[in-house]
Point group: D2
Chain length 368, copies 4
């Protein structure tokens, strides 16, 4: 439903990049969930632009909570918050009026909104809209923590550079490692190479994308629905909501096309009194339902479309071919910032699935 | 919402593999849409098992329409239909009671349904449930035809064998080529190699998966929503509903991680009075909204989990490690059957997006 | 969403009065709910036409279950069923083609469906569509029984004849009394007068309506939502789905306009360790949320619009004024049949509200 | 879905009476709708407390728009706004901690939110939450104006005092008359009597309710759905979201129980080339679908539960019977303020129904 996502836990998103403010309403959070403000601050910090590899636009991005939280606990009512837009340079965009920036939504949005869109800075399509998503996701992570569920993401690939994979035997430690880092890689040396690559792209007025690898641990078996609300369907729906995400694969994903069934099947076995699988090619999901193993998926983010090079395009008002040079403040890569948005959308989805199965009384509790 | 998908056009799916019948209710189809029964028959035929590369279970799979269609036109009311289950060999499954077949949903479903599930033949998780989806999709294709929208899918990759890509210059011809084939490949020779590979897998009591490549032409710009109901989100939600689908990528997809922004950006240009892009790395979608170019995406299907080899697993009732040999009638590959299910889910999604934008009066019309 | 109702428990309704069959898919019923077929049979019997005060159309109305139930217990998957249409006299309707029967949906439906509707016997608007609703409601009553929740309805008023009110002190006994009756009144003498009134109306080629009074006991406090999904909103949405229902009031309802706040307020008091209210003017709902007292509401049903008298109307095809005499088989009243539909829609709504709050694991259970 | 209402046009509501602010996100408004700020101001003024017959709490209640509107036109993106809470006297509520005010949601909300609710001033249950609804409704009225649809409500009854009914022959004039008044009655003398009654109630530390009568003109035939999303269902769902609303009836409503079918049926007739009905007992709706006649319904609002008299109740924390005197600032009646909330919820519902039928391109338009 347009700008609302979720079934029993929902996010309503609003705002434009150069308007008064952006924000969201997170509805359906049970009462009595303790808000860990450090998690919100950490995740917002990780999403934020920083150093030479990100946009020059700097925003504090501190959410002002309007409702739904009292004395550090959720009330059970909608949690609304606003993040003001302060550092707005709309003049950067005047020269771009009616110009379809390649790879951007300017033209598609112009047709959709019939000329009434506020296109400055990407308007409602701006990557800036991911800030409220991270706030909502951070609150959901507070809920999931109650049940011992952890989520983490690292940059697994950028061009030819590949980070080491998650260590399946010590997944929670690796997740903790990711969550402690601003530039999330497991192998620090690979991270340095990636940063050098991003800086090099910026110096050539270009940009890069990359692949993110995500793990979710501690989620019990039996969650999700066959077919339409499969865990894959729900997660993918949420993940493809993130600007620039162009692919999602679960478990072995596209590599399944290189495997025989005898290799792809995850054999079940007893681990003490617990049922586990020896391998996890299915990424913790069978028939759309969790099987108790870690949820594993990868997402790909395309290179940032805003590049300073001269590009060919059209003016969709005059219907003429034109050249465009995009000035303003842009990221030569967003992949290192996107990773925490992936965690956020995952947390929102998993929390919704759990409330759907176990009810709104599953999280939080009675006030003493 | 569990077994219902869609906003303004919805499918409610029901049935178990070994129950009385399976079926669906397709709601929201505008009145006055002419049903092309040949399209339904063609797509059902293409989904059906055939020859040595598919399951031995043979079902007529002729939908019995109960409501919503009169004199070959939709009435505007819900279209309900049932496909009876006739060729049921439940005895094949008795030996599998409480056994978690590797790669299957038996265990996950057992936890979800708390022991009350009808697991025979995969129950509600069975690939057989895709038959009603194809019927619904075929009806949606009747609607999309009114507006000149076409959809086609070919098997682009199976192990090391790759079909030639769609010819972007003659996309509609290639789509027509696919829709005329039972085993959908563009290069007939590659198709023969793939069939040989499947037969070889079957002979080794094994199975294979593959990658499907889909194109949708004729869809106007401005359809879809930013963020949550992006065209990618809606399509992925629907596609991941198909059993065995484990990955979805749009346009250049995971290959975006190998590209610079300067190469990944699709330059707009005038084509007569029309705005097009020179390349289509974004698969016809910018910022979640269609830009008027063909929609392009790939999906990966894992190898069929039912293989005749002896496999290690557990009995989830007794909580013991056991060996299992899966008899019964199974497919050494489903990729050639899945392709028409991908078309069906795509058609359902696109029709829903169009009704959301242009209303329920967009399709069909006034009776003369 | 058109022909689907409910959030976590949903009903998808289909069929036309003179088509092959009618039915529904009840989705979201937890696994392990024991189906009490006697309740289904009892409620279907009470909905059915009988004697001289109902339509001459006789249908067995035995639902054929297609999925979702095994060995008398729900599986957790969608419960689909069909009720065949056997006793169809479409010829009765030929004379009515393009005639807007007064009080009927013929004209409104004609505009909506643009001439493609199957209007025979009311088509999708027929009161016959309430049969599947009763089946769904009966299954929900099986669930509610697990938690000690009871629902009952009596005819409180027909013209000048008023039944005695529910005895608030012995509500469950009165509910049991209603549920045992085909013509549900608390005072048998009043029932005889009402039946005489209906017969008299029939003899004058006329019809009557009436007011139903419903009570739901055993529902705990804290269920429902403030504002949009208030218990009143959810129940009213479901109740106004019943053909001919034109009014819904909770507790003292329209009589609140005659009361001062000091009289209308329900004083809370301790009843042992339990919090109750001394009066129940609010019908068990405060601020949209249950307060633990019985839910109380009334619904009004208009007189059946099909009457045998000559009536003035139009032919909406030729756009001419015409006279119409409605032959065919009709009810001089539906109020005595509607009462069990009210119970059904109430049960569906309450079950959905409870699953929303307590999860899908609240009902049913683990198989032993 | 909890605090979100609507299908293709949705309102997400947030805020508590004594928190930082209240507001809403109105999503799905097409682009290019001209905002008439005078309508917003007029309706907010009419909702506001005034004179001796309303609460002493005075708030400016000027919405601060954060997104979705530019240069006086809607952009097509979510319209978010905040109304700050300024005039907050929470100390008035300290004495009421854990006290179940009779007729209020304190106890029901306490169970629902498990002790974490912010109960001051009614919290999220406060009538103050209707202010954002009025803003949303006013924007929808801007849309409906484009199509010539008008909505108006008068107080038809308060205790024994009855206003004259709407003049069916001059409905639009009567609607205009209502919309110009702060205390909406058609007969000024009856209004004076009602105001005297409210003042008298206040002087006796008591309160009154009343019945509102609403008319909607200009809505075309063919809108709405049979059964579940009948116009009655959708309107009632929205209307019962308004605090204190306890009954909704359409057309002749509960009075249908006093009528024979021959009187209740609305005869169709030609009016020039237009099809109308001679009477409008059905309130413009047949079978859940509009028939082109004015939509007519009544709503009842209970007397304000906050009265200054000493009342008996319980402390739900200590589980003891207690006496309570409610100080603070309260309304001896809300009916005259509720009327514009009824208009707002009606406008939201009708706009949603029209977008569902005719698409999101129906309102607004292309920018020149």
């Amino acid at each position: 439903m347009k700008n609302v996502i979720g079934n029993n836990l929902s996010v309503t998103l609003f705002g434009e990049s150069h308007g008064k403010g952006i924000g969201a309403v997170l509805d359906g959070v049970p009462s009595g969930v303790k808000i860990d403000y450090d998690i919100i601050a950490r995740m917002m910090q990780q999403r934020k632009a920083a150093g030479t590899i990100s946009t020059g636009r700097r925003e504090d991005d501190i959410p002002e909570f309007l409702s739904g939280i009292k004395d550090g606990y959720t009330e059970g009512t909608p949690i609304a918050f606003v993040i003001p837009n302060k550092n707005v340079h709309s003049s950067d965009y005047n020269a771009l009026k009616n110009i379809a920036r390649p790879g951007h939504a300017d033209y598609a949005g112009h047709v959709k909104y019939r000329g009434y869109e506020d296109a400055s800075g990407g308007g409602h399509f701006s990557g800036r809209l991911t800030a409220p998503l991270v706030v909502c996701g951070a609150i959901c992570i507070c809920m999931l923590q109650e049940k011992g569920i952890t989520i983490g993401t690292h940059i697994s690939k950028m061009m030819h550079i590949e980070d080491r994979p998650f260590d399946e035997k010590h997944l929670e430690q690796d997740i903790a490692l990711c969550n402690a880092k601003t530039f999330s890689v497991l192998d620090e040396k690979k991270g340095e190479q990636m940063i050098a690559l991003i800086e090099d792209a910026r110096n050539h007025m270009d940009s890069v994308g990359g692949v993110l690898d995500t793990a979710i641990t501690g989620l019990c078996a039996g969650v999700g629905e066959p077919e339409f609300d499969s865990v894959e369907s729900c997660l993918a729906h949420a993940l493809f909501s993130i600007p620039a995400c162009k692919g999602v694969e679960f478990g072995s994903g596209f590599d399944f096309s290189n495997m025989y069934g005898s290799a792809a099947n995850d054999a079940f076995c007893m681990h003490g009194k617990e049922i586990i699988t020896k391998t996890n090619h299915n990424g913790g999901i069978n028939g759309g339902i969790t099987n108790g193993m870690p949820i594993r998926f990868k997402t790909v983010f395309k290179p940032t479309p805003s590049i300073a090079q001269l590009q060919k395009t059209v003016n969709f008002q005059t219907k003429e071919n034109v050249d465009v040079e995009i000035h303003g403040r842009h990221d030569p890569a967003v992949i290192h910032r996107a990773r925490v948005v992936v965690d956020a959308m995952s947390a929102i989805t998993v929390a919704d699935l759990l409330i759907t199965r176990f009810g709104s009384v599953y999280f939080g509790g009675e006030k003493q």
